[in-house]
Every structure is written in C-alpha cells, then in structure tokens.
C-alpha cells in the first residue's frame, strides 16, 4: 500500500466537497476517479497530493523514511514531499510557459539540487524516451497539446516519483492523441511499478485504468476493478 486515506472531510464555505472519503492506493495501481462536476474529484486529488490540507482525516504515505501523514504536515514539508514523492500531469500540463521543454523537465531535478548540466542531460534523455527528441529547445507554446502532455509526463518521471497525479490529462486532446498520451502515461507509471491517480470524465480513460472510483456529493459511490 502506497497511500491510505481515511475520513477525509473538506468544506468550501457551506459546500461539502469531501464527506468522510477513504481510499487506498497500491504500488503499480492505476486509479481513475470519476464523478459528475462538483462531486469532489479534484478536491480529493488535491488532498491526496498535499496541495490542500483537509478539514479532517489523514493521508498516510509510505516513503523511504517510513509512513508520514501528509494531511498533518506543514506547508513547507508538503512542498518537499510533492517534489520528491509525487509527479503531476494536468489538463494544460501545468508547464511553465517561459521555459523550454527541456528546462521544464529539468526543473524538479534542479530543485532537488542536481546541477544544471546533469539535469539538462537527464531531461533530454527523458524527452527522447517519450518521443520528443530534438524538441527540448522549444517553448511550451510551440508544442502541440499531445507533445506538451508528454513533456509533463517526462517531468513527472524526472525525480522517480512513486505516485503520479493526473487531472483530466487528456481533456484538451483529440481522441487519437488522447489515447496515445494515455498509453504513454500508463507505461511511464503503472507499467514501471508506480501508482497513477487520474481524475477524468472520460469512460475510455477509466476503462484503461486498473480500478475506477466513482464519487457523488463528496462520497465514494463505487470502488471497483475496471471492466
């Protein structure tokens, strides 16, 4: 078990986004989180990833140093955790527009203290692995949607993160590119023994994940193996 979350509660004013959610994430598992808009999917992902702290509940994460409660950590500790333990792939890639593709991939490595030369070399290798050889000098805006998502996937691999969080990673792509990007994402995560938690509206994306969790009104409606 990589993550074990229990009793998660999150309010936004009078709105209850999460209402006692419990979820476990195992190594090598790919979990699709589905549900109607406003059901709490993105909030759950943000809580699991330590982006926001829940009003109640705990998120236990297994790290090399032992179990830690992400929900109880201070802001600075959660930042450090996101850098080393988690990777992120979002709808718009959440790439930094003024940096080149290679610099985006190198960024997490630079933040962990790797030299620029070494980080740049590693970034070029990762981009080549993901079929983006020769595009390292391009800025994000000069890449297609599919290429930008591959850069985001390469970035999530840079620090060898154990868990990758993805929020509608194929939402802005055409169906062929979406299928292609999802294949790359699954191969780079679950295919290598790492966990993938993906928020999606797309049943085709869910069908390719090993498990589907459906939320409704901040509660888990169903949790089962993908058919």
């Amino acid at each position: 078990m990589r993550i074990s979350a229990t009793g998660l509660v999150q309010h936004y004013g009078a709105t209850v986004a999460l209402d006692g959610v419990a979820l476990t994430v195992r190594d090598g598992e790919s979990i699709a989180i589905m549900g109607p808009s406003g059901s709490g999917k993105s909030t759950l992902l943000h809580v699991l990833a330590g982006i926001i702290r829940p009003d109640a509940g705990e998120v236990l994460l297994r790290t090399a140093q032992g179990m830690v409660d992400v929900a109880a950590m201070a802001d600075r500790q959660r930042s450090a955790l996101r850098l080393t333990e988690f990777g992120f792939v979002f709808q718009q890639g959440m790439l930094i527009p003024e940096l080149t593709a290679a610099e985006n991939v190198a960024m997490p490595l630079l933040l962990t203290g790797v030299s620029r030369a070494a980080a740049g070399g590693a970034a070029e290798t990762l981009l080549t692995e993901l079929g983006l050889a020769g595009l390292g000098d391009r800025r994000v805006g000069q890449l297609s949607g599919g290429q930008a998502q591959r850069v985001a996937i390469a970035r999530s691999k840079a620090t060898q993160a154990n868990v990758i969080f993805a929020d509608e990673p194929t939402g802005a792509l055409d169906s062929r590119t979406a299928s292609d990007v999802l294949g790359v994402l699954l191969a780079a995560t679950a295919g290598q023994g790492r966990s993938l938690v993906v928020v999606t509206h797309d049943e085709e994306v869910a069908a390719r994940c090993s498990r589907v969790v459906r939320l409704r009104d901040g509660r888990i409606d169903s949790d089962g193996v993908s058919l």
Partner: protein, 446 residues
Amino acid sequence: MRPHALLLLLRPSRGDASTVALPVLAFAIVGSVEYLVAALARLFWMVPDDGFGQYKILAIGLLAVLVIPAGTLGASAARLSARRREDRLAVLRLFGASAAWVRGIAVVEASLLAAAGALIGVIGYAVLAPLLVWLPVAGHSTAFGEVWLPAWMLALLALALVVVSAVSAALGLRRVIISPLGVRMRTNAPRLHWMRLVIGAGVLAGGVILLRFTSVNWGAAGITAAIVVVLVAVMSVLNLVGPFLIGLFARRRLARARTAEELIASRGVLESPAAAWRQVSGVGLASFIAVPAGSVLGFLTMVENGTTALEPEQLMFFGDVRTVVIAAVAISYLLVACSIGVTQAAAVLERRGLSVSLDRLGMPLRVMERARRLAVASPLLIAAVFPALAATVLVAPVVGVTVFTAPLFIVTVVVCIALGVLLVRLGVTATTPVLRRVLAEPDRAL
C-alpha cells in the same frame, strides 16, 4: 460584437477586487502628486519677476522633472488594468472581435479607472495642500488661499491623467491585437532591437550639445525650453534603452544560471524585458534626477560658502532653488515607492499561474521569493547605475565642479540610489502576502 458584450467584459468579476483597486490607488496617488506639484509650480510662477524670469524657469523645471515619473506610474497603472484583461481580450480576438473593439474595451476601462483615481486624488491633494503654507517662496510665507488650484486647472490635470492612461492601455495591448494566439499561448519571447541603444546614445549626445550651447542670451523662454526638452527627451529614452540593457544582461545570466531560481528569474525577465524595466523604472528616473539634483545642491553650497559676497536676493533665490530640488527628489521617491508597490503586486498577480505551477511542483515559497528577488536584482542594478551615468554625462560640467568642491554631493547621489534599491527590495518583501494569498487559493489562479 454587440454593446452588451462590452458591458459584460467591463463588469469586474469575482476575485478582481485587487486588480481594480491597485490601478485606482496608483492613479489616485499620481493624481494627488500631480495636483500638489502643479500647485507648487504655480506658487513659483506667480512670484513677481524682476530678473530674467528665473522663477518661471524653476516652475517649469519642477514640472518637467516630475512629468515623466508621474506619467510612468500612470502608464504602469493603466497597463496593469489592461493586462488583467489581456487573456480574455485575446480570446475575444480569437472569436473574431475587431482590433478596434479590443482596443476600445481596454481604453474605456483604463480611462474609467483613471478617472476614479483622479477624483480620489483630489481628496489627497485637499489633505496635503495646506502643508505648502509652511514653504517660503521668494522670502515670503505662502497664504492659505494661494495653495489651491483653480477648478479648471484641476479638471485639466485630471483629463491629462485619463489621456495618459488611455494611450498606455492602447499601447499595452498591441500584442493582443497583433497576435491573439501569441498571447493566448505565450509563444513569443520578444527580442528588443539594438537600434534602441543607438537612439538612446543619439538623444543623450543631442542633449549634451544643446545644453553646451545654451546661454543667458537665449532669454528665460529659450533656457527653459532647452532644459525642458533635454530632460523630457533623455528621461523618455531611458524607457527605450532600459529594457534593451535588461534583456542583454538577462541573456548572459541565463547562460550562467545554475539553480532553479536563477533559471526562472532569467527566463521571466527575458519573457518581457519591458515589464522587468517597468518594475524598476521608478528607481531609474529617481536615479536620473538624483545626479543633477545632488550637483545643484553641492554647487549652491559651494557658492554660498565662497569668498564672493552674495546679495540677499541671490541667497533667497538659492534657497528657493534648494526647495525645488529637494521637492523634486522627495516627490520622485514618493512616486518610486508607489510604483514599486503597484508593479510588484501586479507582477505577482500577472504571474499567478506560474506561481501555482511551481508550488504544485514542490518549489518552496522561500525559493519562489528568491527567484522574485533575483528577477528584480539585475534590472535594479541597471536602473540605478545607467540613468545616473546618463545624467552625469548630461550635466558633466556641474558634476565635475561639485565632485571636487562639494564632495557631499556624491554621498547625496549614492544615498538616493541606495534608497531606491532598498525600496524595491522592500516592495518585493511587502508583496509576499499577495503571493501567499495566490497560493492559498490556487484554483482561482488557473
């Protein structure tokens, strides 16, 4: 595009409060300062002149020295109001709105905010103007009634502020109008042309030559015109050359960047050297003013302490010159402080998407803060040193004399520049809560 679309776009949306309040506050400060400076200049203008019009030269000189810093702050505020809508306007262009419509929306909005600020500025003026009573002009104390500008002059100054903001907003949106996709996708990293440097050098050389040829024979009007033309022209080209130099240094720094914060800072500056210059241009203008101001103060001290006995009228006039110089420096620094507050807060708000991306990636707040400080450091150095050098070239004879006869002048200049640098650093630190707020509500930023 129908008129109700315009109204929809002009309506402030949720979360927009700070981006509306900032430009209005900046316009209000510019308005107050503009009215106060005009009132002070009017006091000097009304002194009965029995010489060669020296008090009228002082009045116009004061206005000329401060018109560019005030205009720059006004323009920053207008750009801020336009930039906050930039993405939405770019989307509108993608949907087929004409360039005239987009420009119209930006200009109307900036003008409304400027008008609101100009009105609030009248209150600031009403509160501060009575302090001018303490200021002796031509040896006489100022009467309470003399510090108030006529209503038509206030209206004219407010209109000038609205016009500056409208023009700046229209110019600030050139990129949206030329390339809607460029702004939407942020693909363009502008490269500034080296011709800016040539134009800057040419204007500076022209200014030096004009001042060398200026003589008492030209009369009050001729001397005033020469000084005003040179000051305004050189201060204007600072805004042309500054971004070019900043871009040049940022490219060199990018090549040497070793850490994440150095890389982000250099790339951020290169993304828009003009925006980086705007963040520190107040220091540039204050630094430009500090050199002649410091040398004039030094020169006056030298003459007063000299062996030649001075007439009481001359001593009185020197006192008035000192008043104007100190007022110019003080007000320019007030504008600097305001401009720094506005531009730093604007920079955080404009780059909120980047901050949220970096936060999710796991970049600690202290590293983000270091990146912000680094992004300002080189532009700040350029803004502090290059205008001071330009001013030194321009008034080299006076500087040359005072360096040897009144070395305190150098201390004045260094203190002025150091103060500007300190203000910018304080501006970065003071806007950390804005960044914290952006990170606390990341979803709103995306």
